[in-house]
């Protein structure tokens, strides 16, 4: 049972995920028309050796990429810029966040215990509002 649980957990480790999620709303009008979030996460060994992360090529059929670090603000911002350029709009209200966490952390009710950083989780998050070119904002 323990081996199965460990194997299943390890399987879920061998994935990363690069997502571009957006929504339009009349609330954002009259200048902006879409709110976008670009996110990627992955795993590193000892904080320096990339294991797996989301594939920044969103047109690719492979959702993950191995031994390559694509969890960077530059890449996330580059994907957002390409998404915006293709639609002829501009980026506004951009907020970025990058974080790293220890993989092995155990939560015992209210106590959170981090174990040594053998495997590290890394994520990057870019949020923006898209405006039409020539908008007042």
């Amino acid at each position: 049972m323990r081996s199965l649980a460990f194997a299943l957990a390890l399987t879920s480790l061998t994935t990363g995920c690069f997502t571009v999620d957006s929504a339009s709303s009349a609330l954002l009008e009259p200048d902006a028309d879409e709110h976008v979030i670009v996110r990627n996460y992955g795993w590193n060994l000892f904080g320096v050796i990339p294991l797996v992360c989301g594939n920044a090529d969103i047109d690719s059929s492979w959702g993950s990429t191995f031994f390559k670090d694509e969890v960077t603000l530059e890449i996330a911002h580059g994907v957002l810029s390409k998404y915006v350029a293709d639609s002829g709009r501009e980026i506004c209200d951009i907020v970025v966040m990058a974080d790293r966490k220890a993989l092995w952390s155990v939560q015992l009710f209210v106590v959170h215990i981090s174990l040594p950083w053998v495997v590290q989780y890394k994520e990057v998050n870019v949020s923006a509002t898209l405006v039409r070119k020539g908008g007042t904002r």
Binding site: A5, S12, T15, D21, S25, D93, Q107, R137
Partner: protein, 148 residues
């Protein structure tokens, strides 16, 4: 082991709901020509098995009610914006400015269970420029030589 899994799962389900926090509006805004009504933060959380099978997630139709939906993943920008729209309708706001969204996750039980959270903050405003007055109806003037 079974009891630990059940206990962790039960405590994790408590956190799968949507919340909406209201704050006083800021005094200064980057956007001109609007009156701030309030600053809000909406959040949603879900619980995933093996990082991709949804077990439960918050109900975006009922924030602050502890409501959640089984075997559905409601974490999306569209649902966050839906909650913003509902609050804007409640307070009479016409626009949302400085909208930002962040998504984070945390592992429970060595990735057998994963909890994701999405937070969206915005400032709800109302346009301060009054709507233009309707143009007065022009009186019809009969001129010689023109048909009525």
């Amino acid at each position: 082991m079974r009891q630990v899994i059940v206990a962790v799962a039960m405590s994790a389900l408590v956190g799968c709901s949507t919340t909406l926090t209201r704050l006083p509006p800021p005094r200064a805004l980057k956007t001109a020509g609007v009156v701030p009504i309030e600053a809000i933060e909406v959040s949603n959380a879900n619980l995933l098995l093996l990082s991709f099978i949804p077990i439960a997630s918050g109900d975006p139709d009922a924030p602050n009610a502890g409501a959640f939906r089984w075997f559905t993943d409601t974490l999306s920008v569209a649902n966050q914006v839906q909650m913003l729209e509902a609050e804007a309708a409640r307070v009479g706001a016409t626009r949302a400015v400085e909208v930002t969204t962040l998504k984070t996750d945390e592992s429970l039980l060595f990735f057998l269970l994963l909890r994701e959270k999405m937070h969206t903050s915005a400032i709800l405003v109302k346009d301060s420029t009054p709507a233009p007055a309707p143009r007065p109806a022009r009186a019809l003037v009969q001129r010689k030589g023109l048909k009525k």
